[in-house]
Symmetry: C2
Amino acid sequence: MAAAPKTRIQMKNRATILEAALEVFSANGFRGATLDQIATAAGLSKPNLLYYFAGKEAIHAELLTSLLDTWLDPLRALNANGDPIGEITGYVQRKLEMSRAYPRESRLFANEIVQGAPRMIDEITGPLKTLVDEKAAVIRGWSEAGQIAPLDPHHLIFSIWATTQHYADFDVQVRGILRPDGEAHFDAAAGFLQSLYERALSPF
Amino acid sequence: MAAAPKTRIQMKNRATILEAALEVFSANGFRGATLDQIATAAGLSKPNLLYYFAGKEAIHAELLTSLLDTWLDPLRALNANGDPIGEITGYVQRKLEMSRAYPRESRLFANEIVQGAPRMIDEITGPLKTLVDEKAAVIRGWSEAGQIAPLDPHHLIFSIWATTQHYADFDVQVRGILRPDGEAHFDAAAGFLQSLYERALSPF
DNA sequence: CGTGTTCCTGACCAATTGGTCAAACTATTT
DNA sequence: AAATAGTTTGACCAATTGGTCAGGAACACG
């Protein structure tokens, strides 16, 4: 899609712009973000932004496509041959770690999907669905073999997305309610989710 | 805040405008919504909108404050004297029912909170925190009495919000992945969440 | 050093958008 | 029916915003 950067300056400036755009888009949504904000955040002039990218849409699209892959890595890592409960709780922990380390990426996707995913619907019904269906089949195998409790695998995956991404997407709310405990709530969340899923998945 | 409507026409038109605004704000976020869109959706002219409301902000604010109360009703209904597991799974079901019946309201809040809740932060750190703390204390009492498993009550509430609102806020994604099953996924979700929380909360 | 290429900018533009206002139109009341 | 109060609108405005463009500055390289 986007022309491959060639010079050192291009590499550096494109990266700077994408970093600034991630900041601005994730905090304001596509429509709420302006090229001026992105330009200011990147320390560049607006016409200069448009020298590197064809337009606002192009910057946004580049962010979405280049980040989606990374975003799905934790699910890809779910290993059909591992210990079922350990694999799933491991997935939960990796996903929560993503929320801690990359909250802006999470909010970028959240903004997009809440508003109907107008620029991502193909990725969802295509590659994403394929990956989820594949991993859901693995989980279904485990529950049919009696290794984990019989829970619907698709909804199990949804619940993991929901509970883990909540800490990135609804960060202000979590902080507002857990007021004085600063950063510690991620560790508390890790412990809570570990217990929740261990208990729920245990076949006994 | 907003002047109390007096005439029949005022009642009807204010309601029409708020309904249209809910549609538009929930689908596009505050910044993404335009007065023209709301006016068109309401079947009124833009200046006429502004005869009934002081401005875009005022319409949005009215929606947020008037809907927040309803939104929290399910949690208020959590009864300290009821059966612990039944109370909590009942709360889960009521909350999921809200997602099914009022997805636009859910998305209105989701849009606001994902973007840092600039217009709602006081409600969060005030009345919302108070209510959550109160109900969390009730849940803590249950787990200290050994009636439910020892899970952090605040994070338990967060997980319930996350899992239930997910079906409204990320509706396109859920539909995109569960493609052919139309509306049935809400019933599947109800069953899944019932099992998930029953299993996780059971003290044994 | 000169020259071609890449990079950057100020000035500008058309479209969109939130909001105003005077005038016209419609209900309601007396 | 006249007077009053409430409702609606077309025309207009200033600010914002995505994007363009011609030319200048910096850089690479023979």
